[in-house]
């Protein structure tokens, strides 16, 4: 076989394993990422099948269940006990998954889409547009995240949509910076130069050379942002800025007044807390796994 043939053979062998396929194979061998997928799958199942899983109505109060003014712990009928208004804690946790998942996904979608749009504009336009957009992002970043969210909720009023906007807004500058930096880095790459020199149009270069390579850090960040969003949403809920209707089974809101019952009913604080930790941990594990799997420096090693 000639050298040219050998090279052709090599190319053929490597060809089917694209970036994504390879990443997926590495991800499958990463026990951490698999645990993350399992946690997130459980979380999504709870959210989707809540009416089938929850044995009680999460808002239904039964004050006759209370003993000495507060709340009996886990029992055969109420797996996670009942809260201070006699509502079934297990059902509230199951329905709470819906709110955490919904608010988390929508707010990341808000932050991601606005952030990516601004980042792409800044990175591709450059010059004065770039300066203005990035200074705006700097100003947003100069307000500590939770305070920015608090300010937005205080201005827009409490409610599901408002929380989504508030938490999403805190993530806009992160995504904008990330995509802009990524585009700038890719623009100088040899393969972009090569594409340009053989006459590939600008738009095609952006769409098929720059963006696919710039997008993998965005996917990693997006997964990690879901974790942050769930924590932030719970934080707002904990501070009493959650959904307007206080009977809404939102995990952070469920934690709000529990410090008062720590002595008599610690389960009220522990159960929603553990639910938050497990869902956040799931997204963090997937995010870390994806980062390793998509890292071009590690490609071809696994």
């Amino acid at each position: 076989m000639s050298i040219a043939q050998l090279e052709a053979r090599e190319v053929e062998l490597e060809a089917p394993s694209g970036l994504w396929r390879e990443a997926w194979q590495r991800l499958r061998r990463n026990p951490g990422a698999l645990a993350g997928f399992a946690l997130v799958a459980l979380f999504i199942l709870l959210a989707l099948l809540a009416p089938l899983i929850a044995p009680f109505d999460p808002r239904e109060q039964d004050l006759s269940l209370l003993r000495d003014g507060c709340c009996p712990g886990p029992s055969a009928e109420h797996w996670f006990g009942v809260d201070d208004l006699g509502r079934d804690e297990f059902s509230r946790i199951v329905y709470g998954a819906r709110f955490s998942l919904l608010i988390g996904v929508v707010s990341v979608a808000v932050g991601l889409s606005v952030g990516l749009l601004l980042g792409a504009i800044a990175g591709y336009a450059g010059g004065i547009v770039d300066s203005i957009v990035m200074r705006l992002m700097d100003i947003m970043l100069s307000i500590p995240g939770l305070l920015l969210a608090i300010g937005i909720v205080a201005a827009l009023g409490q409610g599901l949509i408002q929380i989504m906007i508030a938490v999403g807004a805190t993530q806009i500058p992160i995504f904008a910076r990330l995509l802009r930096g990524s585009i700038l880095a890719q623009r100088e790459n040899d393969f972009v130069l090569a594409a340009r020199s053989v006459g590939v149009p600008r738009r095609t270069i952006l769409a098929s050379h720059i963006l696919p390579n710039a997008i993998s850090p965005v996917i990693v960040q997006g997964t990690l942002a879901l974790a942050t969003a769930i924590i932030d949403v719970a934080g707002l809920g904990f501070l009493g800025l959650g959904p307007q209707d206080p009977s809404t089974p939102e995990w952070g809101t469920m934690l709000t007044d529990t410090t008062r019952y720590l002595q008599t009913a610690p389960h009220l604080a522990m159960i929603p807390g553990v639910a938050i930790v497990l869902s956040v941990l799931g997204f963090n594990l997937i995010g870390d796994g994806l980062r390793e799997a998509l890292d071009p420096k590690l490609r071809g090693r696994g």
């Binding site: 200074r135 705006l136 700097d138 100003i139 970043l141 100069s142 307000i143 500590p144 995240g145 939770l146 305070l147 608090i150 300010g151 909720v153 205080a154 201005a155 827009l156 009023g157 974790a227 924590i231 719970a234 934080g235 904990f238 501070l239 009493g240 800025l241 952070g252 934690l255 529990t258 410090t259 720590l262 002595q263 610690p266 604080a269 522990m270 807390g273 938050i276 930790v277 956040v280 941990l281 963090n284 594990l285 870390d288």
Partner: protein, 334 residues
């Protein structure tokens, strides 16, 4: 070096202007407008009109903004609706509490995080390494307020070792020349108060320091692993420098650069986290103050507080950047 500092200071100007515009506009887009916000929920339309004249809210918006900048520059953030006291006075009273808590948290996370990351890197791939990675992963997955609740439950409620709320026991007398209780106790030589203030500080500081701890440990590990294989480290070893000296003078010293950056970046998280931690431990700082202000819709407090905290955050970042230049000769001499 001087040019670097001057450039960095100039970059501050657009940020501060933008920040003031944002906070200025924020109160003007509130439902019902600023007059309603200043009056609270009980205000009538007549009162609102009067307030609008009194505060010049019927003037063109750029005139209003200019006046706002002037009053803020004079250190006037208006009066709190709830207490009728100047916002600045309450700020002065509560700020030291938050700073004390943040410093304690930072101290905790640095003193524990750097050695933890260092040991993990030295035993790369070993049990300590895996354990520290796992702990730091869980560390960043636990919401700070939940960790605070767990700590409070275990050490204050169950074991009764530490106090549950506040900065000082009611029965202890302490003069407050500075507002930093630990410092106050040392300055006045009040040992009983010092012990009590420290005991109150432990749980909130550990809770607030947990995320920076996890992040610092992770970064230290990565930085040490990076530096360890550098040529100059091998050279130092080859010429017979003792292992301890190589670790401190060559490895750790160079690893400190990324660590210092990440410590600076934690300030924003620390200020956000303080709001949550203070709420759990009823710590009378900026956080509980702002949360209380949201509940009664005390907008002058929110406006002043958020602006003030953000400016502090920006200044801390500036300080970190300058310090970074000081410890990094590559920036210092360029």
């Amino acid at each position: 070096m001087l040019r670097f500092v001057v450039r960095r200071l100039l970059l501050l100007v657009p940020i501060l202007i933008g920040l003031s515009i944002l906070v200025f506009l924020w109160i003007r887009i509130l439902p019902g407008g600023p007059a309603q916000a200043l009056l609270g929920e009980r205000g009538t339309d007549e009162q609102a009109a009067q307030i609008e004249r009194q505060y010049g809210l019927d003037e063109p918006i750029h005139v209003q903004y200019w006046k706002y900048v002037q009053t803020v520059a004079n250190g006037d953030f208006g009066d709190s609706i709830a207490t009728r006291r100047p916002v600045v006075e309450e700020l002065k009273q509560r700020f030291p509490a938050t700073i004390e808590l943040a410093l304690a948290a930072m101290f905790f996370s640095i003193v524990l995080g750097i050695p933890l990351g260092f040991i993990a890197a030295k035993r790369y791939g070993g049990a300590v390494d895996h354990a520290s990675l796992l702990i730091s992963l869980i560390g960043i997955s636990v919401p700070i307020f939940f960790l605070a609740i767990i700590l409070k439950y275990v050490f204050a409620v169950k074991l009764g070792w530490l106090p549950t709320v506040g900065r000082l026991s009611v029965l202890i007398d302490l003069e407050h020349p500075t507002g930093f209780y630990v410092l106050d106790a040392i300055l006045t030589g009040n040992l009983e108060a010092l012990w009590d203030a420290l005991k109150h500080l432990v749980l909130p500081a550990v809770a607030l320091g947990s995320i920076p701890l996890a992040v610092i440990a992770r970064i230290t590990r990565a930085a040490v692993l990076d530096v360890q294989n550098e040529d100059y480290v091998r050279t130092a070893r080859a010429k017979g420098v003792s292992p301890g000296r190589v670790d401190t003078r060559h490895v750790l010293r160079n690893a400190l650069l990324p660590i210092a950056t990440i410590i600076g970046l934690q300030t924003g998280l620390l200020l956000s986290g303080a709001v949550l931690t203070e709420t759990v431990f009823a710590w009378p700082g900026i956080g509980t103050w702002l949360v209380g202000a949201i509940r009664v819709r005390d907008f002058p407090v929110l406006q002043g507080g958020i602006l003030f905290v953000s400016v502090v955050f920006v200044l801390v970042n500036l300080f970190v950047d300058v310090m970074y230049a000081v410890i990094n000769p590559r920036i210092r001499f360029s």
